[in-house]
């Protein structure tokens, strides 16, 4: 140890003569290597993030100039029943999505982490929904759920399973649940991947030890698998929550927030307010709320899991 430190000191002394030039050259290389990325990312991600907040204090309707609006958009948000309703629907969607996706993905992830050959084949097929574009997937589900003629209605009619013949996307008490199911169909495969990787990383010794202690299957799950998967659980849960708090695509394609405003989540409310009613100032308030919600949940992820350790590369650098 002492020898190697001495070696480092010696080499530093040896380098001292050309040190400043080398440092300047390194900085120049950093600048050339990172700046293009930073410019693109800064222009289209960082600046817009702060600009959204700025726009929430203005009025803009595309045609006219930006007009300063002070806090009027914000005070409108706090007394707007539509926005409050959207916020509620958004939380409902996030909560239901978590209930639908995380436990199922955990079960499936543990299942496909098993060693039987057929499970690898299943795992490969489970990923297929992630290859479909959201538009394609939505149109597929729309036709499957089509009242009277869709695949589900056919089953209801011909197999006398009447509970399947419903207006899944068109009735106000079913639309949100149907959307939750479709989103789950799309994203459960992704979370299954997380749990599969998590389960595979659990050291076999822990199960050996549990066996020696006489644990049965259920005890092994509660005392080994579940605690070992806590990182996967937090990662997956956070991604489900952030994803559904900001969810837009399937709802826009299938219901446009309807029927009535039963599926009008915040992102949909923002789109309608901005791009349909061209009240971009007020829409920016909704966008800011959306962004803050998403970022808050994402930061929780970093805090709870030490995701920040991904930057740990620092220690290894010359």
């Amino acid at each position: 140890m002492a020898a190697s430190t001495a070696f480092l000191r010696d080499s530093q002394v040896a380098r001292r003569s050309g040190y400043d030039t080398a440092r300047r050259r390194n900085f120049l290389a950093d600048l050339l290597g990172v700046s293009p990325t930073l410019a693109l990312y800064g222009a289209f991600i960082v600046i817009p993030t702060f600009f959204a907040l700025f726009l929430s204090f203005t009025n803009w309707d595309v045609i006219g100039p930006l007009k300063w609006a002070g806090f009027s958009n914000w005070s409108r948000f706090f007394s707007d029943p539509t926005a409050h309703h959207s916020l509620l629907v958004t939380f409902e969607l996030a909560g239901l999505s978590w209930l639908a996706q995380t436990p199922l993905a955990m079960a499936l992830g543990i299942f496909v982490a098993g060693t039987q050959r057929y499970r690898a084949v299943y795992a490969a097929i489970y990923l297929v929904p992630l290859l479909l574009s959201t538009v394609g997937l939505s149109l597929m589900w729309q036709d499957l759920l089509f009242p009277q003629f869709g695949g589900l209605a056919w089953l209801g009619l011909h197999l006398h399973m009447t509970f399947l013949s419903r207006n899944w996307l068109g009735s106000s008490d079913l639309a949100l649940l149907t959307i939750v199911v479709i989103i789950a169909w799309q994203f459960v495969p992704f979370h299954t991947l997380i749990f599969q990787a998590g389960r595979r990383a659990v050291p076999a010794e822990l199960y050996d030890a549990a066996t020696v202690d006489g644990a049965n299957v259920r005890q092994a799950f509660w005392h080994v698998t579940l605690p070992q998967l806590r990182y996967s659980i937090v990662t997956s849960s956070t991604l489900v929550l952030v994803g559904s708090l900001t969810y837009f695509d399937i709802i826009y394609i299938l219901t446009l927030g309807g029927p009535g405003d039963t599926t009008r989540v915040l992102a949909m409310d923002m789109y309608n307010t901005g791009f349909v009613e061209t009240e971009f100032g007020y829409a920016s308030v909704i966008a800011t709320v959306l962004g803050v919600l998403g970022i808050l949940v994402a930061i929780t992820l970093v805090r709870f899991t030490g995701f920040g350790s991904m930057e740990g590369g620092r220690e290894g650098i010359s």
């Binding site: 991600i45 097929i125 394609g136 997380i194 952030v242 900001t246 920016s284 991904m310 930057e311 290894g316």
Partner: protein, 308 residues
């Protein structure tokens, strides 16, 4: 040795650990293996989910090969009755699918190129950094993972309008690439970190400068992660709906997802379910073929930063 390159040895040890765990995989089901009942129940439940995954896709493919009359009269789930390619021919004639494919391919190619080059170049400088600039930049870029794109579409619409890149393909490429950069940089950094320091030292002994080190060491070594990042960026660009919806308007640069949406909501074709299903299946097919060929890379590309 450890004193000189501690992090590198840690990284090596970590990957060795990963390999060891994988090698020990047969022992994984130690406890599970004891219960035949549990294994059988798992098989049944796993198969039910398999049916739930494949059912809608099977329905889509089946319907796409039917005429409108067959769609209304035949068994919806069994391959009975007659089949036809008429949905596919009317899709080719009515949707302008050729130009949609071309525009989507342009978007995907441009995005992949931009994301792959920029993220590898900056990951190299972040890992081998010589200044605080690269370190601070990395922190800033990581912050982008937390920014939901839905929250910034209005400023993006505003900015692209003012820069006169609204409704232009390269404008869409820039924004799409920027939205994918944070995760791409993270994937690259995590991989480039694993390149042994001794190789850099060897390059330095040979008198290589920063650029030729990048060119002759980092780029060849990073080939596997370049494939993964390309798939991540390619899927992100090919399937994106929100950004094209917000940032394009005319038919000139309309990409597949948007064209498909417009096609399906068009009263002329939208009510023709078999044609819409043919359209969806036709746009999914190329990705499906790529997935079968490059499954391993796809899994990593789809998993993104959530797998490590």
């Amino acid at each position: 040795m450890t004193a000189i390159a501690p992090a590198h040895s840690v990284a090596l040890a970590r990957s060795a650990e990963r390999r060891r765990v994988r090698a020990a995989a047969p022992a994984l089901s130690g406890i599970k293996g004891r219960s035949k009942v549990l294994r059988f129940v798992s098989f049944v439940l796993g198969t039910i989910w398999l049916v739930i995954v494949l059912g809608p896709i099977y329905y889509m493919v089946l319907t796409s090969f039917r005429s409108t009359t067959q769609y209304l009269t035949a068994n919806a789930w069994l391959p009975t009755g007659s089949f036809t390619l008429s949905s596919y021919t009317s899709m080719f004639h009515g949707s302008g699918i050729g130009t949609l494919f071309r525009d989507s391919a342009e978007l995907a190619a441009g995005t992949i190129a931009l994301v792959a080059v920029l993220s590898l170049l900056s990951a190299y400088r972040i890992v081998r950094r010589g200044s605080r600039f690269a370190a601070v930049s990395f922190r800033l870029i990581l912050f982008g993972i937390a920014v939901p794109i839905q929250a910034i579409v209005i400023p993006l619409f505003f900015i692209t309008s003012k820069l006169h890149i609204y409704d232009k393909m390269y404008g869409l490429v820039f924004v799409t690439a920027a939205s994918l950069i944070p995760v791409a940089v993270l994937l690259m950094v995590n991989y480039v970190r694993l390149i042994p320091r001794e190789l850099y030292d060897a390059m330095a002994v040979d008198g290589a400068n920063q650029w030729s080190t990048f060119r002759n060491l980092v780029v060849p070594m990073a080939r596997p992660v370049l494939a993964v990042v390309s798939i991540y960026a390619g899927l992100g660009a090919w399937n994106n709906f929100l950004l094209p919806l917000i940032l394009t308007q005319s038919n000139n640069d309309m990409v597949l997802p948007l064209g498909m949406y417009r096609f399906a909501t068009n009263s002329l074709y939208g009510i023709n379910v078999p044609v819409v299903m043919a359209f969806v299946f036709f746009t999914m097919a190329p990705i499906l073929v790529l997935y079968i060929v490059l499954r391993r890379q796809f899994v990593k590309g789809i998993g993104g930063f959530a797998l490590r």
